[in-house]
Symmetry: C2
Subunit: 301 residues, 2 copies
């Protein structure tokens, strides 16, 4: 099959490239940790060229990029689309990198310029474009991660969205707070961990108490009234429970959610959402970002 586009998801700390045929078939791929943070010093063109060489891309193969490469501190700033943002417009709004032998474009992120709820995304909008091609074009979408995004879609338009820094809060509390003494070396919980699910449910029911439950993760084992091995499950359940309650408060209901996720996180969020009576359908996050990059490429080439 003939290569149609090199699709690149260029995040803060990761780089992923797929050579795609026009029907989306993956002909080759490359991954590395040369995300924006490393590419700033290595040079964005050098990183991209090396990966294109590794996968044997022809000199005329165009490149479609999403993510932090389009941030102000990235390769070239791709100005945000403002909410309400039509996902079908993403390709047309991509910026072109000048002075390259091939056609290289970077997709815009989406900004919510509401002074009460200012918010930004870069990369997730491309996953959303891919997801709406496979699932529904309207409804609530949950995209878990370091900075989880909750997005209200209506007919392919991002109406409003909310970022909840669940993954990052877990990481900084585990590494830098008193809770490190209770979580030392513990893996993140599996989706069927009963302590995790019970904590999600309890916090979702009474989210105001969430912050009053953090210290107990340390005090419980200290006093011998809780199993020391449950610390990570409790912290994860607590933060995800607070996230779900925040989404309910912001969007009115989370009765039905489209989950764009992959791997362990997909299982954990699906289980957490089901524990609070949410109906969940999953779109694989990797499939979604490739489909979004391909969809945007098709509107141009």
């Amino acid at each position: 099959m003939k290569p149609f586009v090199a699709a690149v998801d260029w995040g803060t700390s990761s780089f992923r490239l797929w050579v795609l045929a026009s029907d989306g078939t993956v002909l080759a791929e490359a991954r590395s940790d040369e995300g924006m943070m490393k590419a700033i010093s290595l040079g964005f063109p050098a990183v991209l060229d090396r990966h294109l060489g590794d996968v044997g891309a022809g000199a005329d193969l165009p490149v479609m990029i999403c993510g932090m490469a389009g941030a102000r501190q990235g390769w070239r700033e791709a100005p945000y689309l403002d909410t309400p943002a039509a996902l079908d417009d993403l390709g047309a709004q991509a910026v072109t990198i000048d002075g390259q032998i091939r056609d290289i474009r970077i997709l815009p992120g989406v900004a919510q310029r509401d002074p009460d709820w200012p918010d930004v995304m870069r990369g997730e909008e491309t996953q959303l474009l891919g997801a709406i091609g496979q699932g529904t074009r309207s409804g609530l979408v949950c995209m878990p991660g370091t900075h989880a995004k909750w997005v209200e879609l209506r007919d392919g338009v991002v109406r409003r969205f909310a970022t909840v820094v669940t993954g990052e809060t877990f990481a900084v509390l585990r590494e830098h707070s008193i809770l490190r003494l209770a979580l030392d070396g513990q893996p993140q919980p599996e989706a069927d961990d009963p302590v995790f699910l019970e904590t999600v449910r309890a916090v979702y029911q009474d989210p105001a108490l969430g912050v009053a439950r953090l210290f107990a993760i340390r005090a419980g084992p200290l006093l011998g009234v809780r199993d020391p091995a449950q610390g990570a499950a409790r912290l994860s359940g607590l933060l995800i429970g607070m996230e779900l309650a925040a989404a309910r408060a912001r969007f009115g209901s989370i009765g039905k959610v489209q989950l764009v996720a992959a791997g362990r996180l997909e299982g954990v969020y699906r289980a957490a959402l089901r524990a609070v009576e949410t109906s969940v359908e999953t779109v694989d996050a990797d499939v979604a970002v490739r489909a979004g990059l391909l969809g945007a490429a098709r509107t141009i080439w």
Copy 2:
């Protein structure tokens, strides 16, 4: 006046000693950063002896200590009193350090061995003993700090309490999360900062949305829709607002609160509590801990 006792508040990261007359008059004092963390390597007796020498304490002056020196990893473990814990019993339950030329005792902390709400305090119980001598013996007490404590008292008995790790969460998010980009170099807010107070009120009214407001501290200035200088005021207001809402959820009402605090934190919490219609009376935290140590000493010597 004749020295009656050396009163020592020995925290995780600070050491404070006062030579007190029997009526509580401060005859001499010493402070350092030789809290438990440093004293573990320096040796607790060496740290104490040096400070006693500096203030010219006689060889027969007894020493009453509260705080982390009584933790398992401290000088000598002073087992917790369990809730419901009568503050008047603290002195009688102090442990004696053997093999010293003078009488040295460490006061116990208080433990809440409820598997749903396990919690511990060390040091605050002594402030409480001092505070009830000056204020009310019943009601809700707020003790702000790295690990803020909310305590329900009835006739001098600690019925139940809750720790909210507000100060520590502020510190780890400021130093280690994406929010550091929005807070860099900003001081903590003053008590009359309108953005701080407005944030406290908004989060107190709808605490479930608290975690959904964190990322906006970064996104607002990035999009130019919020003043970049307001980041610390917003984060502080958000965390204190969540703390007040958690206290309301846990104790039913925070309509009337005794605040045991000092310095900037006293002003900030008084303003935050008044912003949510709470009636506040303050007991100075330094005065309270001295009064508590003196009160406990009087029950023994």
